[in-house]
């Protein structure tokens, strides 16, 4: 039970924190259409997070609501990976982060459609359609960056070099994840790693972009040890529930 809730929270927090980063870009996009497109992706992710939070609340069965899980936890209780919380340094950082996570989500959800957990398999089936589109969009941006101008190539390379260090964590299973593996509930991250690497290589090949040679990696988010950015995200995100604890929406 406990492990299943943790696994649910890991999935929901990844979508939730990434959606917050995308929402921050609202009205700051490079042009109107891209602004709307990023917000659309954010909304898809919020929808996915919401349904998983609500289900996790039900599993807890102690009066905790989906909103409580989204808005009323402390930093170390959030189990999202470090990559999701990295800032929108520039549009290349936003989109490289998105590409890495869309690729991960695509294969993770594909595996989860086969989950023995009926709820997870239903959520995965529903979200996979949305994520297929997200991945198509962010892959094309990679190719556009790489084959665009000198400046777009430089920025994309810079973003890849800065964000690569958070990719290995995506494939590092938590205890909760491993404990559910045998029951066929959680997705096998080794399978997803292989697919992720081959997709990223394929798109990088088309885009003339390169994986960094520096293979240094950082870990922590999935066990609640977040980067310095997380506190700022939560301050912003939880402002309303902190100021008006009884607020309803």
């Amino acid at each position: 039970m406990e492990n299943r809730v943790k696994y649910y929270l890991e999935l929901a927090d990844n979508a939730w924190i990434l959606s917050h980063r995308l929402a921050e870009n609202s009205s700051n996009g490079p042009f109107l259409e891209e602004d709307l497109a990023c917000t659309n992706v954010a909304l898809d992710l919020i929808g996915m997070a919401e349904s998983i939070y609500n289900e996790a609340g039900k599993l807890l069965n102690d009066g905790t609501s989906g909103d409580d899980l989204a808005y009323r936890r402390s930093e170390w209780d959030y189990l999202n990976n470090l990559l999701s919380e990295q800032p929108n340094t520039d549009f290349a950082h936003l989109m490289v982060r998105q590409f890495f996570l869309d690729t991960f989500n695509y294969y993770n959800l594909t595996e989860l459609t086969k989950s023995k957990d009926a709820f997870l398999s239903a959520v995965a089936t529903k979200s996979l359609k949305e994520v297929t589109y997200h991945l198509r969009r962010s892959s094309e941006w990679m190719i556009r960056f790489g084959n665009g101008t000198e400046e777009s190539m430089k920025r994309a390379t810079n973003a890849i070099n800065n964000l690569w260090r958070y990719t290995e964590e995506l494939f590092t299973p938590t205890e909760a994840d491993l404990s559910l593996r045998e029951a066929g509930i959680s997705a096998d991250l080794n399978v997803i790693r292989e697919e992720w690497e081959s997709k990223v290589s394929e798109v990088f090949f088309l885009a003339n972009l390169r994986k960094p040679e520096n293979t240094f990696q950082l870990f922590g988010g999935k066990s609640g040890e977040h980067s310095e950015h997380m506190g700022y995200i939560l301050t912003d995100m939880q402002y309303l529930t902190n100021k008006y604890p009884e607020a309803q929406w």
Binding site: L32, E33, E34, L36, A37, R137, E140, R144
Partner: protein, 97 residues
């Protein structure tokens, strides 16, 4: 939202609501290439079930009648009401004409 002059060329968006229906002009989007134009059109115009098929066309490829020519193009039709087949009764069962 900076650099208004650097948003890429304009594309016109046409949406088909159901198979068999004509494509209707919905509006326009900015985009740098075909893929981006289709995706932007999808994100701006078809998120609420507006359609099931989509065309985008570079605005520069559309040939239009200019305002100065419009009188010679359209006015001669104004006094020829007999060209409208309004004196016929619609056959039963025809839904779209």
């Amino acid at each position: 939202m900076t650099q208004l002059e650097n948003q890429g060329p304009l594309w016109e968006v046409f949406i088909q609501t159901k198979a068999g229906q004509p494509f209707k002009h919905a509006g326009s989007v900015h985009a740098y290439d075909k893929e981006m134009a289709v995706e932007n059109a999808r994100d701006v115009y078809t998120r609420r079930g507006e359609g099931t098929a989509l065309w985008v066309v570079p605005s520069s490829e559309i040939v239009a009648v200019s305002a100065s020519e419009s009188s010679s193009f359209f006015e001669p039709a104004d006094d020829k009401v007999y060209r409208h087949p309004t004196f016929y009764t619609m056959p039963e069962g025809v839904k779209q004409m």
